[in-house]
């Protein structure tokens, strides 16, 4: 019988002091899934950014809410869901990153989503059962070239 691939569920308070834990757990899971050290670091960064987005935008910095993380090695892909029950933030409303304008206009928002999209193969947002779910997927095949 095939051994089940590792999966992990974690619920953390909506406080940035827990981001280090999120990073460590994600990195460990990514390494277990067979990603290189460098890719595991980047995956941890993407999940850090997704969690930060929830704390800052869905929960508006309120520290008494809950962020749920579901990290799964699905064989061909590594998948992380970041779930909250706060305000729905439409990612399409986040302006695309234009680095030249960032410097001239002192804009610093939107970098996190941009980083997530650069690191992952797909980043999707959906609203379900009154909860927001951000799904980050990295295919193992694609990571070999990076």
């Amino acid at each position: 019988m095939a051994r089940a691939k590792p999966s992990l569920m974690l619920s953390i308070p909506s406080q940035t002091s827990f981001l280090s834990l999120v990073r460590e757990v994600t990195k460990k899971m990514a390494e277990s899934a067979g990603f290189s050290d460098g890719t595991a670091d980047r995956l941890a960064l993407a999940v850090d950014e997704a969690t930060t987005n929830v704390i800052e935008h869905a929960y508006h910095g309120s520290g008494d809410r809950e962020v749920e993380l579901r990290i799964e090695d699905r064989g061909p892909e590594f998948r992380v869901e970041v779930v909250d029950d706060g305000t729905t933030v439409d990612p399409r409303a986040v302006p695309r990153v234009d680095l030249g304008r960032y410097v001239s206009e002192r804009r610093t928002g939107g970098l996190g989503v941009h980083l997530m999209e650069k690191i992952m193969d797909s980043v999707t947002f959906r609203r379900t059962a009154r909860r927001n779910v951000c799904t980050l997927v990295k295919r193992k095949e694609s990571s070999r070239a990076r």
Binding site: L19, R42, L99, T108, I119
Partner: protein, 122 residues
């Protein structure tokens, strides 16, 4: 153990920042404060030595971007040195390597300010 410490020192009119640990939404205020402290003292030649920096998230990159216009507007620059592979990779993913001068060593970053009267940006 602190998640981030930032030591500073001045060498030849250049302010050196040594972030140690990681910079993310939780620790960024400390990093930002040290940059602002330098600016308040009229120090606009800044080198961030990233030798002890294991990781930087967008919050940290935003702190740099938020200060760079004032720094360059005052004839200075913020330059980076000793990036580890992870941090360098994050800079490259975002194209920051085209916006900021990055040096292999602290000495190179400091001496880069001597040429062209120390001003300029990449």
């Amino acid at each position: 153990m602190a998640e981030l410490t930032v030591e500073t020192r001045d060498v030849e009119g250049v302010t050196l920042l040594y972030p140690k640990g990681f910079i993310n939404a939780h620790t960024v205020l400390l990093f930002e404060r040290e940059i602002q402290k330098a600016l308040a003292q009229g120090q606009f030649k800044i080198v961030v030595n990233c030798a002890g920096l294991s990781y930087i998230a967008s919050a940290g990159l935003g702190a740099i971007m938020g200060a760079i216009e004032e720094i360059r507007g005052n004839g200075g620059d913020l330059r980076l040195a000793n990036l580890n592979e992870t941090v360098r990779n994050i800079f490259e993913i975002l194209g920051f390597n085209h916006l900021y001068r990055i040096y292999a060593s602290e000495v190179e970053a400091i001496t880069s300010f001597r040429s062209a009267a120390g001003a300029g940006s990449s």
